[in-house]
């Protein structure tokens, strides 16, 4: 029998080791899976994780994929700190893309420097609005934000599909469900010639720094953390709960919206039905994997972007289904949750350590550190 024994105080070391351990376990499971599918595990892992980034173009593509994930995840770090379970980054991203596209298409004939900022702001507003809906439903009606944000995701997706079939459809597009290509003044400039890496990555890195300062130095960030860890302590101290819920959701929504508009005004250049291969959901995993810490999230984002590229590469090179990406994402999150038990508990096998007293400290707190 294996027993879990409370540590008393949770282990900082384990909090950071756990994601690494989860990554290793995912790789091992992946290798076994490849073996079962008749592939050489080492070749397959190489195709998945090394080959996609073995040249400059690959590295640039990694950044292209990383930018939207990073923006969504860094916003989620803020709401999840407040224990507001915004599962709606995907919908907020789609709305950002939709509203940003509407703006870009409305300004399609204008060539001016202010067009791009206007498009980006419109995108952020789209995401912010979608998150504001969830915030309103939660603060005014106490509606569970997990369910409302999920529902808003499905609604956003259907609205997006509706608009590319209807109002935003390219009139000269042979009835394809796509918008017209944006004008050049609504397109994010690329950073390196010959690649698709664009200004969005700079925005994402800037957001990382801002959120880092917010969470570690500002009193607002402190209040958000207290609300998440212990809402009744926050209430007694006089922190305004609803205001904090609003602020954190709006930050997260605006960043997801920016991610969405960054896609349509960046690598895609028009509105299409599939602007996101689930970046908003991947960002949830990234936020947990990065321990809701900006630096951790940055690292986890790169890994997640790599898994996306690896999935595509595995499809091309090995003929494996592209759904491999989703499978790896799921495994990663599961292993992470399982390994996180080591933060608050140590594993003890009574048969091996009978009678040995283990030094530690007093009571237990069982909430996992998310």
């Amino acid at each position: 029998m294996i027993k879990l024994e409370p540590r008393g105080q949770h282990s900082k070391l384990m909090a950071w080791l756990s994601p690494v351990l989860a990554g290793v376990l995912t790789l091992v499971s992946g290798a076994i899976l490849f073996g079962l599918l008749g592939q050489d595990p080492l070749v397959a892992l190489h195709t998945l994780l090394v080959k996609p980034i073995s040249d400059t173009y690959g590295l640039a593509e990694l950044c292209v994929k990383a930018a939207p994930i990073l923006l969504c995840a860094i916003g989620l770090a803020v709401v999840y700190r407040a224990k507001v379970w915004n599962i709606g980054a995907e919908g907020q991203l789609l709305m950002g893309g939709l509203v940003g596209s509407a703006c870009a298409l409305a300004l399609i004939d204008i060539e001016a420097a202010w067009v791009l900022p206007a498009v980006l702001l419109a995108g952020m507003a789209g995401g912010l609005l979608w998150a504001a809906l969830a915030a309103w439903l939660k603060t005014a009606f106490n509606a569970n934000e997990i369910l409302t944000t999920i529902m808003l995701n499905y609604i956003a997706l259907n609205l997006l599909i509706w608009s590319v079939h209807g109002p935003l459809k390219d009139p000269d597009g042979y009835n394809f469900p796509e918008s017209a290509m944006f004008s050049d003044s609504a397109i994010l400039p690329t950073l390196i010639d010959g690649t698709r890496i664009h200004l969005g990555m700079v925005f994402a890195l800037f957001a990382v720094v801002v959120v880092w300062v917010l969470l570690s130095r500002s009193f607002l960030g402190f209040q958000i953390k207290v609300l998440g860890l212990d809402a009744s302590a926050a209430r007694l101290a006089g922190f305004r709960e609803k205001r904090l819920v609003w602020i954190s959701l709006l930050i997260s929504g605006a960043l997801a919206g920016l991610a969405g508009v960054g896609e349509v005004a960046g690598p895609i250049g028009q509105l299409v039905p599939s602007i996101s291969p689930g970046y908003g959901y991947a960002a949830i995993i990234v936020a947990f994997l990065g321990r809701l810490h900006p630096v951790g999230i940055l690292l986890a984002t790169l890994l997640m972007a790599l898994i996306y590229m690896g999935g595509e590469m595995a499809q091309i090179d090995l003929g494996l289904p592209v759904a491999l990406t989703g499978l790896f994402q799921g495994m990663l999150l599961f292993y992470l949750l399982a390994c996180d038990v080591l933060i608050n508990f140590r594993i003890r096998i009574p048969a091996l350590s009978a009678g040995k007293a283990v030094p530690a400290t007093a009571p237990v707190n069982q909430e996992t550190a998310l």
Binding site: E5, P6, R7, G8, Q9, H10, R217, S218, F219, L220, F222, K225, V226, L229, D230, S232, A233, R235, L236, A237, G238, F239, R240, G355, A357, V358, P359, A360, T361, A362, P363, V364, N365, E367, A369
Partner: protein, 515 residues
């Protein structure tokens, strides 16, 4: 009323030999020996954390001891689980009741009895019969959430009595009762003992043990530190056995009366939003600068609601109902009331007074943010650390450093930290809820001294507590709350535990506006 009859020389009902239980970081029980004879009322005395709870969980099969043996009617036995304990005839009344609010009394008891419960109507009849026999009338059809705390305890006791019982364990049973209810409980327990049932009575209240128990075993830090016949000891010799020689036992404090009212509550009424809550009805009282006012009461009589109204967590429609010298504050949020000089020590230390998973440093900032620790929205981490370290030093909080998490501190140490944090902000009014529950005597004394010191500096202090002895010790004026109504306040020297006990049961004239 002390019953000092000799213990009958029968084979012991229960014998414990060398019971040892180790938890990570502490030895809860270290080689404990104990015998209980049939028909004996045996006290298990000890401070919080002495190992009483662990020991009784061992007897009840909830905890497996690491070493030691247990003899039942002279035969070695291993109690596998609570169901097995019940089969043997062991019953237990928990301190934090193990009842389910949304179920009826019958359903609750049926759950515990398992397959022996039989059909519900028969069981209900048996419950009525047993509860009548022992003077604890209950209606088996009522849902538990409609019961008072005292009635819930009756359910716990009756649950043990509907089956043949040989040993009844009661964990701090009197902490939720009025002094008069305690008397009634003792009558029942003596009746049970007279019928041959052994009783293990766990307590830290010395007078009760002296009044009720035939023999006592005293635990300190997980070991047996003494055994005695309580009726032959006095309270202070018992206390010495509990705390050892080096801990100061609390002293008497001079009583004073303040003159300048700081907090004025006038006709405070509030309908509770929680259907299980208590409505406040026309509560009026003053707390003067330079005095401690104590409010006694059995849990669940409106204390939470009163405290929430005073802290600002609940805001009051009638702004005038709560007055500070600066004006009405009923509509102000906790933060605004803090800037008017309020400090607040809540009942729940972990998870309200302090955030369990934050360091002491961060917990210092939790309520200390109005004292210059935040500038332009940014936290001055250096100042926060200095503030936390000051609290730790001045109030002798035992912790490795200010980075230790609140959850890693013992109850007493954390409470010293929280009270220190509030006092160091120089409050003009301190409200403390149950400031010493669950803390060891050393910490309780330190907390009392800190409160008295603050009073002598001229602050108004309100203490709400279920511990009537504590209130008599530190309060300058005292009253009691019952069903959301507050008794008149009297200077402590002019009243008695008996009178306050009657107030706790609601026996006082309708609220007059006096204070």
């Amino acid at each position: 009323m002390a019953d000092t009859q000799a213990v009958p020389p029968a084979p012991p009902r229960l014998t414990l030999r060398g019971i040892t239980k180790v938890y990570p970081g502490c030895v809860a029980n270290d080689g404990i020996d104990l015998t209980i004879a049939p028909a004996e009322i045996h006290a298990l005395l000890g401070e919080n954390g002495a190992g009483k709870s662990t020991l009784m969980k061992v007897i009840y099969g909830l905890v497996k001891p690491d070493r030691g043996e247990l003899l039942w009617d002279g035969l070695p036995i291993e109690v596998r689980d609570p169901a097995h304990a019940r089969k043997l005839g062991i019953g237990m009344v928990f301190q934090h009741f193990s009842l389910f609010d949304t179920l009826t009394i019958t359903e609750n008891i049926a759950l515990a009895l398992g397959d022996d419960a039989g059909d519900l109507p028969t069981l209900a009849a048996r419950i009525s019969e047993v509860s009548k026999k022992y003077g604890m009338e209950l209606n088996p059809e009522r849902e538990v959430h409609t019961l008072s705390v005292g009635e819930r305890q009756r359910v716990e006791i009756v649950r043990c009595l509907v089956q043949p019982i040989k040993l009844l364990i009661l964990d701090e049973p009197t902490s939720v009762l009025t002094p008069q209810e305690v008397e009634t409980l003792f009558v029942t327990l003596r009746q049970l003992a007279a019928e041959g049932c052994s009783i293990l009575f766990i307590s830290h209240k010395l007078n009760e043990v002296r009044a009720l128990c035939h023999r006592a075993t005293i635990l300190r830090a997980g070991r047996v530190s003494g055994a005695c016949i309580p009726a032959e000891e006095d309270a202070s010799s018992l206390a010495r056995m509990m705390v050892g020689d080096d801990t100061p036992i609390s002293t008497d404090y001079p009583k004073v009366l303040g003159e300048e009212p700081f907090l004025q509550v006038r006709g405070l009424s509030r309908i509770s939003e929680d259907p299980f809550g208590v409505d406040l009805q026309q509560v009026s009282f003053d707390v003067n600068a330079g005095e401690i006012v104590g409010i006694a009461g059995v849990a669940g009589n409106g204390q939470e609601e009163l405290l929430a109204a005073l802290s600002g967590e609940d805001q009051i429609e009638n702004h005038d109902a709560i007055h500070f010298p600066s004006g009405p504050v009923g509509h102000l949020c906790p933060r605004q009331r803090r800037s008017e000089g309020l400090a607040f020590v809540p009942e729940e230390r972990l998870g309200r007074g302090a955030v369990p998973d934050m360091s002491l440093r961060e917990n210092a900032l939790l309520t200390g943010f109005l004292t210059g620790l935040v500038r332009r929205g940014m936290v001055s981490h250096g100042k926060v650390r200095a503030f936390a370290e000051q609290i730790i030093e001045r109030y002798k909080v035992k912790t490795p450093d200010s980075e230790a998490h609140a959850a890693s501190l013992s109850g007493g140490n954390l409470q010293k930290f929280i009270i220190g944090r509030e006092i160091m902000q120089g409050p003009k009014l301190l409200i403390a809820a149950h400031p010493t529950w669950g803390v060891d005597i050393g910490a309780a004394t330190a907390i009392h001294k800190a409160l008295i010191e603050l009073r002598d500096q001229g602050a108004a202090i309100l203490v709400v507590s279920e511990d009537i002895d504590e209130l008599f010790q530190i309060s300058d004026r005292i009253g009691a709350i019952c069903h959301g109504r507050l008794s008149p306040l009297k200077p402590t020297p002019q009243t008695s535990i008996n009178e306050v006990g009657r107030w706790m049961a609601g026996d006082f004239p309708q609220a007059d506006a006096a204070a």
